[in-house]
Symmetry: C2
DNA sequence: TTGTATGCGTTATCAG
DNA sequence: CTGATAACGCATACAA
C-alpha cells in the first residue's frame, strides 16, 4: 500500500479509501490510485484486512464424507454462490468423526470466517459447539441434518416424506417382508427416514420386525454388512430400503454374493439418487435429493445472515422425489423381467 | 494474549515463547501460562500470526471438478496427510475454467498459504501463473496433469501405459475398429492417454481412422455426445475407449439409446475405475488410477517442500492398472454372454 | 476531500 | 531466561 501511495502521490489512507470505497475521493486521485494498483499488481493482504476488520471473506464448510458423491454436489452448490459473491470456501472433511469436527470448529474460528456451513457429523453435543462458533459473531447454517437442540438456520430435504414414498412403493408392489438399513441413528436425517418407513408400514397395517431394522453408517461397506445380516434371516425380507445409495450398492453386492437376483428375488430402494443410480445393474430405484440446491439455498441463506439479516431462524425443507427404475419387482405374480426396450425408455425419460 | 499474560503474571512475550517453544522458559512459568491458556480457552489468532510470520497453516488445493468422483478421492488423500500435520485445506473448484483458476491463484496468495496443490484446469499459460504463485515463496506441486513448461514438482499417474494396456486389451479381444474419446487435448493427461492408444494401435499395425478420435471434456455429457457421433459413423466402431469413466458412462447411455447392446455390439473401456464401475450394467472394464495415493504422495511431497527441502524437482509417476470386467466382448466368434455365475465370481475376485 | 495516527494479535529482536 | 518494543498490512476515527 505504501508503494502505491507513493506512486500515486497520495497518502496511504487515501489508497485504502479508494479500495474500499469508504470515502469520496476526487476522481483524479482515484484514477491515479487505480492505475498504480494495476501497474503494481497489488493484492490487498487478506490477513491484515481480516485482522483489522475482525472478519475475512472465508466461509468454512464442514462435511462428513467427501467421498460420498452426494456431498460434492452440495459443495458445488455452495461454492457457486459463494464464489459469485467473492467468498472463498475452506472445506473440512470430518470423516464422520465428531472430534475432528470440534477441532475444526475451534481452530478455524481464529481465521475469523464470515460464516459457517456445516453438515453435522453426529452428536447432540454439536448444538452447543455450534452455538459457541456462532457466538464468535459469524453466522452458522446447518445443512442436511439438524443437530438436536440447534435453534439456528437449517436447510433440509424432505427425509421423512421421501422414505415414506419409497416404502409405499414397495408396499404397492406387494412386498410385506420389508427390511430397512438406516443410517447412524444419532443423525436426524437417518431418524427421519426411518420414521417415514415406519409410518408407511403402520398405515398399511404391516407389522414391523425389529430385526428387519438394521443400523449402518451411510457407506457401502456397512451397508453390505447390514444386508448380509438381513439376507441370512428367516423369513428373508423380500425388499430392502437402504437409506442411502452407497448402502444400496452394498446391498446389491451382498445379494450378488448370495446369488440372489435383484429385483426378482430381492427388491431394493435407495436414497439420494446419485448420478450412477441410473447405471447400476439393475438401475436403482431411489429417492432423489436435490443436493446442488441444498448447497445453493444454504449458501444464500448464509449470505443474507452475513449481510446482517436478523430474520427469525429459518428451517427450509427441500422436496425429495422417488425415482422409479428397475430394482423393485412386483411380488404377486411371477415377476416379468422388464424388456430391454422398456428399460431403455424409462432410462431416457428419467434423464 | 494479554489476558493470559496477566493471569499467569508474565509478560506477553513469555506467553508467545511458551506457545511457540521459541525460548527456554522456567517450568514454573510455563505451567502457569499453559494453565491460563486452558482456563481461558485461548486460541491464537491465525490471522495475526500469519500476518506476522508471513505464512499460515493453510494449504490451497485447486481442482477442476469436485463433481467427478475421481477428484474427491484425491482430496481425501490430501486432507488426511494435511490434517495430520495440522495444515488446513482450502479447496477451490475451478469448473475447468482457467480464468477462475487464475483468479484463485492470485487472490488466495494474499492469505499467505504454506503451499499449493494444483490440478491444472488447462492451458500453457498455467505454468507462468504457477511460477508466480511459487515466486511468493510458497511451494507448488502439480497433481494429475503437468502443465507444459512447468518445471516444479509433479505427481502423475501412468496415463500412457494405462491407455496402452486398455487398448491392447481391446485388440487382443479381436477388435480392429477402435475409436477413442479423449479428454480436452490441452491437458497432458488427455494427451498421454491418446498417445498410449495410438502406440498400441501402431504396434498392432492397425490403422487409425482420424474420425475415430473424438475430443470431449471429461464429463458424462460430452462423452455422450462424442459417442453419439461415433456410433453414427460407417463402419461403426466395434469398441470405444473412453478416456475417463464419466465419459464411458456417456457412451453407455448413447449405446442404449441406439439399442446397441454392450458388450455384444459395442465394447467399452473406461479410465479411472471409479467406485461405481463395478456396478454399471455391464460392469465397466476400466483403468484403475490410485486417486487417494495421488493425493497423499503429493501432499507429502508438498510438506517436505514446506519444511524447506531443496531437493531437485520431483516427477513421481504412480502405476495404473487395467481392471477387466464385462464391458468388452471378444469379437471373433459369436460372443458368449457370460453366465450369471461367472459374472459373480469375477466381480468378487476383483474386489 | 485528504492525511495522520492508532491498533488489530502476533512474533521476533534485543537488551537486561 | 524474561520482558519491552517494533513491526506485519491494513482500516478507521479524527483532524485538517
Amino acid at each position: 500500500m505504501r508503494q502505491i501511495a507513493e506512486r500515486a502521490e497520495v497518502s496511504i489512507g487515501t489508497v485504502s479509501h479508494v479500495i474500499n470505497d469508504t470515502a469520496k475521493v476526487r476522481e483524479k486521485l482515484r484514477q491515479r490510485v487505480l492505475d498504480a494498483i494495476r501497474s503494481l499488481g497489488y493484492q490487498p493482504s487478506q490477513l491484515a484486512r481480516g485482522l483489522r476488520r475482525n472478519e475475512t471473506n472465508i466461509v468454512v464448510m464442514i462435511i462428513p464424507d467427501i467421498t460420498n458423491p452426494f456431498f460434492p454436489a452440495v459443495v458445488r452448490g455452495v461454492e457457486d454462490v459463494a464464489y459469485g459473491n467473492s467468498f472463498r470456501l475452506i472445506l473440512c472433511n470430518t470423516d464422520n468423526d465428531p472430534r475432528k469436527e470440534i477441532s475444526y470448529l475451534n481452530e478455524l474460528r481464529s481465521y475469523r470466517p464470515a460464516g459457517w456451513l456445516v453438515i453435522p457429523a453426529a452428536d447432540s453435543v454439536m448444538a452447543a459447539q455450534l452455538e459457541s462458533a456462532a457466538a464468535s459473531g459469524a453466522p452458522v447454517v446447518c445443512l442436511d441434518r439438524q443437530p438436536p437442540g440447534w435453534k439456528g438456520d437449517v436447510v433440509l430435504v424432505a427425509n421423512e416424506a421421501g422414505a415414506h414414498s419409497a416404502t409405499r412403493h414397495l408396499l404397492r408392489m406387494g412386498h410385506r417382508q420389508l427390511a430397512v438399513i438406516t443410517g447412524p441413528l444419532h443423525l436426524t436425517n437417518a431418524v427421519e427416514r426411518l420414521k417415514g418407513f415406519k409410518r408407511a408400514l403402520a398405515e398399511a397395517k404391516v407389522p414391523i420386525e425389529p430385526e428387519y431394522i438394521q443400523e449402518a453408517r451411510f457407506n457401502r461397506q456397512s451397508g453390505y454388512q447390514a444386508a448380509a445380516r438381513l439376507l441370512r434371516m428367516l423369513p428373508r425380507p423380500t425388499a430392502i430400503f437402504a437409506c442411502n445409495d452407497l448402502m444400496a450398492i452394498g446391498v446389491l453386492l451382498a445379494a450378488r454374493e448370495l446369488d440372489l437376483h435383484c429385483p426378482d428375488q430381492l427388491s431394493i430402494v435407495g436414497f439420494d439418487d446419485l448420478d450412477f443410480a441410473e447405471f447400476t445393474a439393475p438401475a436403482l430405484t431411489s429417492v432423489y435429493q436435490p443436493g446442488y440446491q441444498l448447497g445453493t439455498t444454504a449458501a444464500r441463506l448464509l449470505l443474507k445472515r452475513i449481510q446482517g439479516s436478523k430474520q427469525f431462524p429459518q428451517k427450509i425443507v427441500l422436496p425429495s422425489e422417488l425415482k422409479i427404475r428397475h430394482s423393485v419387482a412386483s411380488l404377486s405374480p411371477a415377476p416379468p423381467s422388464p424388456s430391454r426396450l422398456r428399460q431403455r425408455e424409462e432410462a431416457l425419460e428419467i434423464r
